[in-house]
Amino acid sequence: MSPETAASAGMEQARVNEEARNVVEAEGLKAWYITQAYGVERTVKAVDDLTLAIREGEIYGIAGESGCGKSTLLKALLGEIVSPLTIVGGKVEYDFDAGKIDALKQTEEDREAIRWRRVSYIPQGSMHVLNPVRRIRDTFHDFIAAHQETTREQSIEMARNYLQELGLREGVLGNYPHQLSGGMRQRVTIALATILTPRLIFADEPTTALDVVVQRGVIELLKEVQKRENSTLVLVTHDMGVHANLTNRVAVLYAGNLVEEADTSTIFRRPRHPYTRYLIESLPRMGDRSERVGIPGRPPALDNPPDGCRFHPRCPLATDICRQEVPPLLPVEGIGNGTGPPHRVACFHQVDAPLEAGEIEHAAEMPHAD
């Protein structure tokens, strides 16, 4: 399945109400890692001045290379701020039924009330997130009992019903994590994260480290979980193929900045930012036998990002303005039907053309940013 057909298939499966409200909003968010060792302060600007809004019921993808701040953004959206991660500025707000909630100032009680019941999290590398010396059923009981009145029997019954509903083997409840395969552990973790029917689910690289056959099963499960209650799913992965298969909208992150955000089909068909074009170019396509070209260079170190557009050292289209000024993230004019969120791009030299194989790498001689 090519990414484009997959993208349109994904669009059909999960249709988002056009007038849906924003379930989570971030404004001017700055999440930095501030460490101090032997009196030397080091600041890593993992997420820098980022604004986004995620609508209820959509599957929102966050894409980008490793080290561009995807996981940090997710932690900030989740309100899980543990030193050395520090919120330097901006805000994150949830909006469920009862007014806005400040995600960054959660107290213990808030956390008990919000986490898992409203907002849940499927972690990166689920291999080790289950307690190795506890049976799965007891872990389920611990997680349920933390948020609602229950007995052990009730919890296990609830877990059994939920696993059945998701088409998972209920026998796993009696197992220890090491007795399960990697794919099964990931599925159990997804069930564990969503058993209390959260409205907003954050998933951090849920399919990474699984082989492709198992990945497919996990993607199906995520879709299933999202569809049950029309929850909002925020999916972080570097795998553009997964975005094509699963998401409604994609945000592309580069070096802590949001560089492009649009409907999944637009992102895959008419990406405007050179970085996005590179990301999609690197995907293999059916029938296209030309060699895949990676993006030259590597993402900048975030303790000292380049001036201007952070992508300019690797960008074939870069000019003087890119080196001096930060391009603002602006809606693309004249695109869209006016109801959904606009296509937003942060680039001075947007490419307004459908993506064609092998186009961009011939645009200029590649500078090496090492």
């Binding site: 899980e80 080790h128 933390a146």
Partner: protein, 330 residues
């Protein structure tokens, strides 16, 4: 069947080999030592009187026979095993004609009572306090940890001497040497027992506790940063659940191993603490026996110690799968 064949039998075999080799070595070592028990005994007997050379020779042969030191070393070795399997550890050389069995029998309950109590209490308190310290870092925790880290490397006999001086000399509340009056389990015996045992028990508890605290805190801190604890924290699990089932429970494997081995070494006593406090346990007995080249007593205590440690490691080995489901009988 496969469980027995593949897991239990090899370990039992290992246990037997360790004990046989250990006993053989302890049989040989005193016989290689320059102290000759016959000379020692003769020295004691002839200290205040001169004997005819013939009488001395006769006495020497008589002593050799009594001590079981006749014949070549190989003959002695097999005779020794014969007696041992019959449950007889032979006579004491220093306190002839007392039997080693009786001497050890008298000292054993004292040592076992003292060490079982201090080892288990130190283990439990150390793990609880250490895990709490790992879980709640802060000023108070740092203070406690600081004290423990200072106490831990101080040799326990120094602590023993400090306590001895402080509480028997400057504040003469406890006896200088253990005094035990009355028959076992009478009120008087229990009172004098507690009075005499308090200081050695506190000394051992403090040193055991500091080690356990440091170990529990280090293991707990490592466990806290593990993925599964962080995920459970993120999911808003209550602190008590996290601390018990997610942190402490997962550090149990090394702690149980260590407890097992400490329990095994109970049978060798604590040489110095017992000597310092005049506590009539195995350690004190062993010390006297070494001074007097009392082979049989040294052998008897060493044997207990070898069997104790070998058995403890066997039990620890067999109980691993109960503590950690990831360990399978293979």
């Amino acid at each position: 069947m496969t469980l027995l064949q593949q897991f239990i039998l090899p370990r039992l075999l290992q246990w037997v080999i360790v004990i046989v080799v250990g006993i053989t070595i302890t049989f040989l070592i005193p016989r290689l030592s320059p102290v000759n028990p016959i000379q020692q005994a003769l020295g004691r007997l002839t200290q205040f009187a001169t004997l005819e050379p013939e009488a001395v020779l006769q006495l020497r042969e008589q002593l050799m026979a009594n001590y079981g030191l006749e014949g070549s070393i190989v003959e002695q070795y097999f005779r020794f095993w014969g007696n041992l399997l019959g449950g007889d550890l032979g006579p004491s050389f220093g306190a002839f004609p007392q039997r080693v069995n009786d001497m050890i029998g008298r000292a054993l309950p004292y040592t076992v009572a003292l060490l079982t109590f201090t080892t288990i209490m130190g283990w439990i308190i150390g793990i609880i306090v250490g895990t709490l310290a790992a879980y709640y870092p802060g000023r108070l925790t740092n203070l406690v940890a600081g004290v423990m880290i200072v106490v831990y490397p101080v040799p326990y006999f120094i602590i023993a001497f400090i306590f001895l001086m402080a509480f028997t000399y400057y504040i003469p509340f406890f006896p200088l040497i253990g005094v035990f009056r009355g028959e076992p389990f009478e009120a008087e015996f229990i009172a004098t027992y507690l009075h005499s045992t308090f200081l050695p028990a506190v000394t051992l508890l403090i040193t055991g506790l500091s080690f356990r605290f440091i170990m529990a805190r280090a293991l707990g801190t490592a466990e806290l940063s593990s993925d599964h604890v962080q995920y459970a924290t993120m999911a808003g699990l209550p602190d008590r659940r996290l601390m018990t089932s997610y942190v402490a429970r997962n550090t149990m494997l090394p702690q149980v191993t260590d407890l097992g081995l400490s329990m095994g070494s109970i049978f060798s006593g604590t040489l110095i603490t017992e000597a310092v406090f005049g506590y009539p346990g195995l350690g004190d007995l062993l010390l006297q026996a070494i001074y007097q080249a009392d082979y049989n007593v040294v052998m008897g205590i060493t044997l207990l110690s070898i069997v104790g440690i070998a058995t403890a490691s066997l039990i620890v080995d067999l109980s691993y799968p109960l503590v950690d489901p990831r360990v399978r009988y293979r």
